[in-house]
Amino acid sequence: MGALVLVFDGLLAAALIWLAWQATHTPGLFRAVISFIIFGLLMALAWVRLEAPDIALAEAAIGAGATGALLLSALGRLAVTDEAGTPWQERGDLYFWVPAGLALLGLLTLAAWQLPSPGLGEEVQASLAESGVENPVTAVLLNFRAFDTLLEIGVLLLATVAIWSLGRMPVPGVPAMTSPVLPALGRVLFPMFALVSVYLLWRGSHAPGGAFSAGAVMGAGGILTILAGAQPWLTGSAYGPWRILLSLGLAAMLGVALGVIALGQPFFAYPTDLAGPIVLLLELAAGLSIAMSLVALYLAGQPPASWNGESMRR
């Protein structure tokens, strides 16, 4: 059985290398983007093989789903997609790149071989009881290293602000082809999206899941409803629900981080009996923010303050 698993790993590695090569070097941008999307899906398989199911869930939803949607919509809006000549600069560079690439590969493998194994597994297991959750990854994300998660939600908000500051969202924001299939699909699938994302959120405390996979699934559902043509509440108005939801994650984490000071704890240290409910609350806020941010990133611009009867189609 060990040999079969090795064959599987080898095939997966070969497929990943080939797809990465296709994504960066094959002529034709559409082929490159599609290769990259499949690369994301196979990476999810690789994460499962590396015993990282939380990352596999997040990669399948974000890396293959959201990034794929972003790339395809950007590809559709680019003015010029035909590249003249070869995708890379000059053929003669091969004499430099092959030895340099092999040397780099050798150095990296040597360095990686000599790295000591990370040793924090035991500390995490020892403190798991007082963290309020049973899944070690969620405990690390939302309790032990919650500061990193705070900054990451901040980065997501910053990306949304950056995209909104670059101008209005491009119209048409929905596919020009009207088809009864997309709204029907949206109606059938949206309850499933909501159910799965709430389930993943709840499950994050004792099994693989958590705020990121839940937020990513909900974000994908939001992108599907945009494609199906639903628009009424997606306005950029100053006190509208969208801005509140986008900043909810960062606000909740900052509020908790500073609020525990009032309870006599140092910055961002939860009191042990409240740790479980606090983690759940932060997961909920972070999941909502991630979902709304993914939708905002997909729209690629600031939606108008009010629709006034215009529509997302031209």
């Binding site: 990943l16 960066t24 990282a52 070869t86 994300l141 990306a159």
Partner: protein, 97 residues
């Protein structure tokens, strides 16, 4: 073990693509491949530890979200760069601006 080598190879492919690709979209794709290679390295190292170390998993999750935000901003910039600017006609040979 095989995943450490895979991470190295993907890193070299991504780096090469980043430098030699002509179109900016391909450079963005190469950056994503680079991040994927680094994440693979982190998690492959974490698996060597016993018991399974959860801190690199959390770091990689954070990294995936940050890389998708960076890709989104880069794509929006790319699309805006390729549009004709205000006050300038489309077409070759227009100097100034």
């Amino acid at each position: 073990m095989i995943y450490l080598a895979l991470a190295g190879v993907l890193f070299v492919i991504g780096l090469h693509g980043l430098f030699v690709a002509r179109h900016l979209l391909r450079k963005i794709l190469s950056l994503n491949v680079l991040s994927a290679a680094v994440f693979l390295l982190l998690v492959a190292l974490a698996r060597e530890a016993d018991p399974l170390d959860a801190v690199p998993h959390a770091i990689v999750l954070t990294g995936i979200v940050v890389s998708v935000s960076a890709t989104a901003v880069a794509l929006v910039l790319l699309v805006r760069l390729s549009l004709p600017r205000r006050g300038e006609e489309e077409g070759p040979g227009k100097e100034g601006r």
